[in-house]
């Protein structure tokens, strides 16, 4: 299991058509299917849900680094395929972006949502090219990815340059999500992305550089029924290595499933099974607004063929909580973190109340 972002959950539940006369048909995720690029950078509209998920760190030049996150989701609904209307809600696109600024000590975020159509919401099938109103993400001819999002409090206009090859997660991009073989997704990442571009916070615009991590995942299956939440971590290590780890928790807080990948620079990746990844809590933080307690400082232990490795995960600052209840979403924590010799992003969900799928 990777990035079952809470927003995706909210978006998905909105677009289920429970009472539709013809139950929607979704494509299945099967092992052994080779991913092909650039087509697999583009959308897979036959699958139920899909995302393009970028997290990273930016150097502003005149202050501490800031974290950022830009995500585009696509969902297939159960809309009647016979409906000839151009408004027929076959695909719904959703995007979310947030900036973690240590100086203000909190997150700013915004989102867009639309049904596909009229050129106002499109996701190309042949390459990464997504338009959602005034938000875009596109792989340019030179292979670099450009994304522009403008929220009410911030603007991001970034170019992501991949310095490393695609990192296929799981078995060649087939990634298990839970105890049942059907709980799986197609999953690849683009770690160690070089970032350049501009950020505007309030009225102040400035040039930035940095590095980012992009997750790509598509699937038609759901979480295990006993899951209540998950922890996910993605880190660009300074030596060029890439580390990803996740765990899915049940109601008792114990891991129901776990996994991860470690790819040392210029060497093959090691896929980590459920037994090879362990999160432990070093320090918790309690939100003064929601009174939810999050394990914001972690110890990650990974068992590799060559022995165990440990990383201490520390947040850029504690209050990176997102309360999206006003927009119909959940309460969760997602923020910039550091590890020894690396920077990354940590996502903590299901701590306020169980996430249901």
């Amino acid at each position: 299991m990777a990035r079952w972002k809470p927003w995706a959950v909210a978006a998905l539940t909105m677009f289920l058509v429970a009472a539709a006369p013809a139950s929607p048909r979704y494509a299945e995720v099967r092992p052994g299917v080779a991913l092909a690029f650039p087509a697999d950078h583009g959308a897979h509209p036959d699958f139920r849900t899909e995302w393009w998920y970028v997290t990273g760190w930016l150097e502003t030049g005149d202050g501490p680094p800031v974290g950022f996150q830009v995500t585009f989701f696509r969902s297939k609904t159960g809309s009647d395929p016979a409906n000839p209307s151009a408004f027929a809600p076959r695909q719904v696109l959703f995007a979310h972006a947030a900036v973690s600024d240590a100086r203000t000590g909190r997150l700013v975020h915004d989102q867009r949502i639309a049904r596909e159509g009229f050129g106002l919401g499109t996701a190309s099938r042949t390459d990464l090219d997504i338009v959602l109103d005034d938000w875009t993400m596109k792989r340019q001819a030179d292979g670099r990815i450009r994304t522009k999002v403008q929220g009410s409090d911030f603007v991001l206009d970034l170019v992501l340059d991949s310095s490393q090859p695609v990192l296929l997660q799981g078995k060649g991009g087939y990634s298990r999500k839970g105890p049942a073989p059907s709980q799986a997704s197609y999953y690849y990442s683009l770690p160690q992305l070089k970032v350049s571009g501009r950020i505007q916070r309030g009225r102040k615009a400035q040039a930035v550089t940095g590095q980012a991590w992009m997750d790509r995942e598509w699937s038609s299956t759901l979480l295990d029924p006993s899951a209540v939440g998950w922890d996910w971590l993605g880190v660009n290590l300074a030596d060029g290595s890439a580390l990803m780890a996740f765990q899915i928790r049940d109601a008792s807080g114990r891991p129901l499933w776990a996994g991860g990948t470690l790819r040392p620079a210029n060497r093959p990746a090691t896929s980590l099974g459920p037994d090879a990844v362990r999160f432990s809590t070093v320090r918790t933080w309690r939100s003064p607004r929601t009174r939810v307690t999050y394990p914001v400082e972690r110890q990650l232990t990974v068992r590799l063929p060559g022995g165990e490795r440990r990383w201490r995960v520390r947040p850029l600052f504690d209050d990176q909580e997102l309360d999206s209840r006003a927009a119909g979403g959940p309460i969760y924590w997602e923020g910039a973190v550091t590890v020894e010799g690396g920077r990354g992003y940590l996502e903590l969900t299901g701590y306020a109340s169980p996430l249901k799928l």
Binding site: F87, P89, F118, L120
Partner: protein
């Protein structure tokens, strides 16, 4: 400081003394003012309340958009406009909308505004239109959210499956939730936009774009940018322009009632003028004495004006209270349009009190009272005290012919004003004209009295009582005028209204015969359905039916600021419509022939032979249709105007094959009742309950009943006006009679019999009444022509032929003569008593 010379206590004492002596006159003046204030205030309150209710309804359907693009006809505009508008700078969100008038399954008349929207867009642009219910069924083609009012109207519950018909297509929907943000009483249904397009055959078309502007965006710039993108069949409308349209529509009927309010106020002013004139004339020695005692002229002027102000305040206060009650009663009994049907499907509104309006109408009442009191107040200080002390009555030399020039000047000015165009769609100059004609008429009353009485006076009849009466009226024309002005004002205005209403009614009667020539009419009383092809075949095949003409009535928006005129498709318009004026030959090739109703022709300024751009996209050219005006026809049914097309042209331009009206000719000898039953049987169940089938005779009778009902309040108020006017003349006559008691005493001394004095008074009263009747009817006729040819065409946009209610004239004249004579006689009882004899003595 005058008050020092004459303590206010003295003034108060004098005013109160005067009122105690003549309470009826004070009361009548106040009453007339009260009627005027009450009427004006009530009409304003009713309309304001109705409009605010209507604007709530509009706001409910429109959500809370900053700006709206709207289709000019129900057919909508091309949906490709949506992305183009959405990409404009300054536009934060655009919600595309399919808006349908629909019939909700259940009883007849369960109309519903059905809105198809994209919930994701509406959440940003018009959150109040977002339904409450399970999220997972929002995009389901079969999901329907209903407002509370719609749920209650049909007795439905969330979870029920209901049939919704729009555009002739009944479709099942499951009620999945409600619309908590819909205002009370608004019947709204919300479905997904794709479902609306698919299920109701609107694929590719939209009716509305609701825009939310970006923070800090310049609305004017966005407007301009949007309008540059618009095709001919779409237009920009801010949500309040629809309210303004309705205001335009109801304005004309308010004008009618405001006219009556004006009548009452003017009558009140004249009554106060009468009462104050008399009171001043009688007290002239008193005032002279006060002046001799050291009161300056201003003190006395102020005293007399204060009397009028007090009466005005009394009347205005009473009027505001009555107006409030009247408005409340009218709203709960008739609704916001007093039965006029202008506000459509809006529930009965709650009363909206406005202190500003109260101040304005109260102020008008006070101003009328002041206006009435001004001339008498000047009279009070006009005469030098020495002359005034002699108390010799009319200061004017009776030999001087009363001037005619000022009266003629006013009348001519009035006639000229009648020629001026409306101001902002209102016949303001028409009203100025009526006021000037009234003023001129009143100013001419002394001259008219002299002119009418001179021949009789020259005849010198033998009966002393008649001769005395004639001599007095001839010799004291301005006193006669004082007595007459109130009655002339109320009579003439009442006659004017009566002539207008009679003419209107007769014209409507004639028109009904012309527009309903067939035997039976069918009307589908819903918005979403109609008679489709199989139903039409079944109806045509019904035994006894000789022929059926099918009609389709929808609407077409020609201007954002005006209510959309009706668009009527019917066979052979040129041969079946009651045309007025000339008709053009044609049409030139390539143009679509249309026939405009009088209101449509006047509102949009077209004549036969003109070309007219219709915002219907012609499929042949993909451009707006150019129409050719073949003729103008009389249509009293639709104030907003109507445009008639050949049925084939309508279908070609709109693709709409539905019809919702039918006119049936019977076979000779067929029993109408039986055919009605067969026609009803030919209708499928979904239509039968909502289809009105009427024989044309009943239809005409019904129309006239509705006409009479909507003018009932007019009749009532006219009756009140004339009663107040008559009461005024009675009070004035009695006051004048009392003022002349010494004259009667002298006459008794020199040998005039009691009954001769009574006869003289009765003759005076009858003559006054006759003069008042002649003046009132003549003036009323003149003013009625202004109403018929200026005020009505300018405010309602239709014409009519003058029909004179002769029996009413006779009745009014008879009543005036009779009441005046009786009033004079009644007050004359004191004139022939011993008191009269004693009055001539200066000592015991």
């Amino acid at each position: 400081m005058p008050a020092e010379a004459l303590p206010t206590g003295v003034l108060r004492w004098m005013i109160l003394g005067e009122w105690r002596a003549h309470p009826a006159r004070v009361a009548l003046g106040a009453l007339a003012i009260a009627v005027g204030v009450a009427l004006g205030f009530a009409v304003h309150l009713i309309n304001t309340s109705a409009l605010s209710e209507f604007s709530r309804a509009i706001a409910a359907v429109n959500g809370d958009a900053d700006l709206q693009v709207r289709a000019v006809s129900a057919r909508g505009f091309d949906e490709q406009l949506y992305p183009r508008v959405a990409r404009l700078a300054g536009v934060a969100a655009v919600s595309p909308v399919v808006e349908l008038t629909a019939d909700l399954g259940g009883g007849p008349g369960d109309r519903l505004t059905l809105i198809g929207l994209d919930v994701l867009r509406a959440a940003a642009a018009t959150p109040s239109l977002v339904g409450r219910g399970p999220a997972e069924v929002r995009f389901d083609e079969g999901s329907l959210f209903l407002s509370d009012a719609a749920l209650r109207a049909g007795g439905h519950r969330v979870g029920d499956t209901v049939e919704v018909a729009a555009g002739g297509r009944p479709q099942p929907f499951r009620i999945v939730g409600d619309l908590p943000a819909a205002p009370d009483g608004q019947r709204i249904g919300v479905i997904d936009i794709a479902a609306a397009q698919w299920r109701f055959d609107r694929v590719g078309r939209l009716n509305r774009l609701d825009l939310k502007l970006a923070e800090g965006a310049d609305p004017g710039a966005v407007r301009a940018a949007v309008s540059a993108l618009l095709p001919p069949d779409a237009e920009i409308a801010s949500p309040d322009s629809e309210v303004r349209q309705t205001d335009n529509l109801s304005r004309a009927y308010r004008v009618n009632l405001d006219m009556l309010a004006l009548v009452a106020l003017l009558t009140g002013a004249f009554l106060i003028y009468s009462a104050q004139s008399l009171s001043v004339a009688r007290r002239r020695p008193q005032f002279a004495l006060l002046q001799v005692l050291g009161a300056d002229r201003r003190t006395i002027l102020i005293q007399v004006l204060l009397e009028s102000v007090a009466v005005g305040l009394l009347g205005a206060g009473l009027g505001l209270a009555i107006g409030l009650g009247l408005a409340q009663a009218a709203l709960s009994l008739f609704g916001g349009d007093l039965g006029g049907g202008f506000f459509g499907n809006v529930r009965r509104p709650a009363l909206t009190f406005s202190p500003g309006a109260a101040a304005v109408f109260g102020g008008l009442g006070l101003a009328s009272a002041l206006l009435g009191g001004l001339a008498p107040a000047r009279q009070a200080v006009g005469a030098p005290p020495a002359v005034a002390l002699k108390n010799l009555g009319d200061a004017v030399d009776p030999r001087r012919t009363p001037p005619l020039v000022p009266a003629l000047g006013l009348l001519v000015a009035g006639a000229l004003c009648a020629l001026l165009p409306p101001v902002g769609g209102l016949p303001l100059f028409g009203y100025v004209s009526i006021a000037l004609i009234l003023g001129g008429g009143i100013a001419g009353v002394p001259w008219l009295a002299r002119a009418l009485l001179s021949p009789a006076q020259r005849l010198a009849p033998g009966a002393p009582s008649l001769r005395l009466a004639l001599n007095r009226l001839w010799g004291a024309p301005s006193q006669a005028a004082v007595a007459l002005c109130g009655i002339v004002a109320s009579t003439s205005l009442m006659i004017a209204m009566a002539v207008m209403v009679t003419s209107f009614r007769s014209s409507v009667d004639d028109w009904l015969l012309q527009v309903f020539p067939a035997d039976i009419y069918l009307t589908y009383r819903g918005d979403g359905d109609g008679f489709d092809e199989p139903v039409r075949r079944a109806m045509t095949a019904a035994p006894g039916v000789a022929g059926i003409a099918f009609l389709r009535t929808t609407s077409l928006r020609l201007s954002a600021e005006r209510p959309p005129p009706a668009l009527v498709a019917r066979p052979d318009p040129g041969g079946s419509l009651p045309l007025v004026g000339g008709r053009a030959s044609g049409p030139p090739p390539g143009l679509t022939p249309v026939w405009l109703s009088e209101p449509a022709a006047r509102i949009y300024g077209h004549r036969p032979g003109d070309r007219l751009l219709l915002p219907l996209v012609d499929p042949a050219t993909d451009k707006a249709t150019t129409a050719f005006v073949m003729g103008v026809w009389r249509d009293y049914a639709r104030q907003q105007g109507s445009i008639v097309l050949e049925q084939a042209d309508y279908v070609r331009l709109t693709g709409d094959r539905l019809v919702n009206e039918a006119a049936v000719d019977l076979d000779p000898g067929a029993a109408p009742g039986a055919v009605v039953a067969r026609l009803r049987a030919a209708l499928p169940e979904r239509l039968a309950g909502r289809t009105l089938i009427t024989e044309s005779r009943a239809l005409r009778a019904l129309s006239l009943r509705i006409f009479d009902r909507s003018f009932a309040i007019t009749y009532l108020l006219e009756a009140i006006a004339i009663l107040v006017g008559l009461a005024g003349v009675t009070a004035t006559m009695s006051a004048q009679t009392l003022a002349r008691i010494k004259e009667f005493g002298m006459l008794r001394h020199v040998g005039v019999l009691r009954r001769q004095i009574a006869a003289m008074l009765a003759a005076e009263g009858a003559l006054l009444g006759a003069v008042g009747g002649v003046a009132g009817i003549g003036l009323g006729l003149a003013m009625s022509q202004v109403l018929i040819h200026v005020v009505n065409p300018q405010s309602f946009h239709w014409t009519m032929e003058t029909h004179l209610p002769l029996s009413l004239f006779a009745g009014v004249a008879g009543a005036l003569i009779g009441v005046s004579a009786i009033a004079a006689l009644m007050t004359g009882r004191r004139a022939i008593s011993q008191a009269a004899v004693d009055a001539v003595r200066e000592d015991w």
